[in-house]
Amino acid sequence: MQKLINLGRGTLDYIAAIGSASMMLFGALFAFPTWKNTRLMVHQMYVVGVQSLLIIIVSGLFIGMVMALQGYTILVSYGAEGSLGPMVALSLLRELGPVVTALLFAGRAGSALTAEIGLMKATEQLSSLEMMAVDPLRRVLSPRFWAGVYSMPMLALIFSAVGILGGHLVGVDWLGVDSGSYWSIMQSTVEWNEDVVNGVIKALVFALVVVWIALYKGYHCIPTSEGISKATTETVVYSSLTILGLDFVLTALMFGIS
């Protein structure tokens, strides 16, 4: 009986958490940056975007290079190494670009957001904002939210572009695939709407989810060192799982049926 009660209470807590998270999301969405907040947003874009740039570029480069190497060894045995370009480009644009960027973003920027907001809560900075008649949602959450939503797709685009260049480096410059066929077969296969735009949409959705989870976890963490560390871990775990699950759903919607 007690177990049943606990289950019911747990479920209710969970639904309430979803409710308050949604309310926060809408709050942040509609608290669209005013001119004053645009500068805050630019600063946050520096924190979540520019500071994630290095890890994104390096990972993109290596993933592109590894894919070219792996793809080449398989394709060459069918005499189809000309298809290396589209293979690298499509995997990056459709899947690896958005997904890996989002996972890295969750680990690099999401956790930092949670920790920062959690710490602001623990040191009463959020309360103090409230008492100064400044809405923390508007002043603290919204700029971070929008900065994340803008930065992530840009990071994903940079990731894919760098990956394709990395694939070119290994496939063409080292393994000797013809440069012309690398690009031209890629061009005839890759579609702007189908592949590039869908990839960006994926990245946008992932960004929304990661930033949302990160901000919610930070804002509602238990303001102790233990609570913040737990919230940070949860941000990374929940974001990663949600990204992978959503990726399947989005892929099925975009590429599954046609």
Binding site: R39, L40, V42, H43, M45, Y46, G49, V50, L53, Y78, G79, A80, A89, L93, S151, M154, L155, L157, I158, S160, A161, V162, I164, L165, W183, M186, Q187, S188, V190, E191, W192, N193, E194, D195, V196, S258
Partner: protein, 174 residues
């Protein structure tokens, strides 16, 4: 507070993103043919389309001139119909005696439609010059393929099983 350096770095970040988009648009996706662009529609009836899909390309001697926009079944005759969008760059170019065949690029490559241009009688050329039949609708007398026209001469995709069957049949006859 936002310092000048931060703003500068964010600017560089955005510029990088735009550069990446440009690279993807121009070098990777080749925006030229894929989207936008005015097109006109042709249809064709095949016995068997094999592995042809929507968005497969339509090529003339290897040059992409359009894409398959829709594949559906003609409900009366129960044969597949293919709808193609051909770039208006190639309007009034292909004679209505042109033929279509479904081809495969390479051994394992994807299938596409090959368009083989037909010919035009010299008297038709005069008709175009004099009566301007290809400049205003209806295009009934225009000897070129125009909007909505159906191409009659089509060759189906090669299906491996049919080929083998035919081969065995021929062997049996000998």
């Amino acid at each position: 507070m936002t310092s000048r350096k931060t703003e500068l770095l964010v600017g560089i970040f955005v510029a990088l993103a735009i550069a990446a988009t440009l690279l993807l648009a121009l070098r990777v996706a080749n925006q030229g043919m894929a989207g936008g662009g005015e097109t006109y529609t042709l249809t064709a009836r095949f016995d068997n389309i094999g592995g042809l899909k929507a968005r497969s390309s339509v090529k003339v001697g290897g040059v992409i001139v359009g894409r398959v926009s829709r594949i559906y079944l003609n409900e009366r005759d129960l044969v597949p119909m293919v709808e193609m969008e051909i770039s208006t760059e190639y309007a009034n170019t292909f004679p209505d005696t042109s033929s279509l065949s479904i081809l495969t690029s390479g051994l394992l490559g994807e299938q596409f439609i090959g368009l083989k241009p037909g010919f035009i009688f010299p008297e038709d050329l005069e008709m175009i010059e004099e009566d301007k039949v290809c400049e205003t609708s209806p295009y009934e007398n225009c000897p070129y393929l125009t909007e909505g026209e159906e191409i009659m001469d089509t060759k189906s995709a090669l299906v491996l099983e049919d080929l083998i069957g035919q081969f065995l049949f021929n062997q049996g006859n000998e």
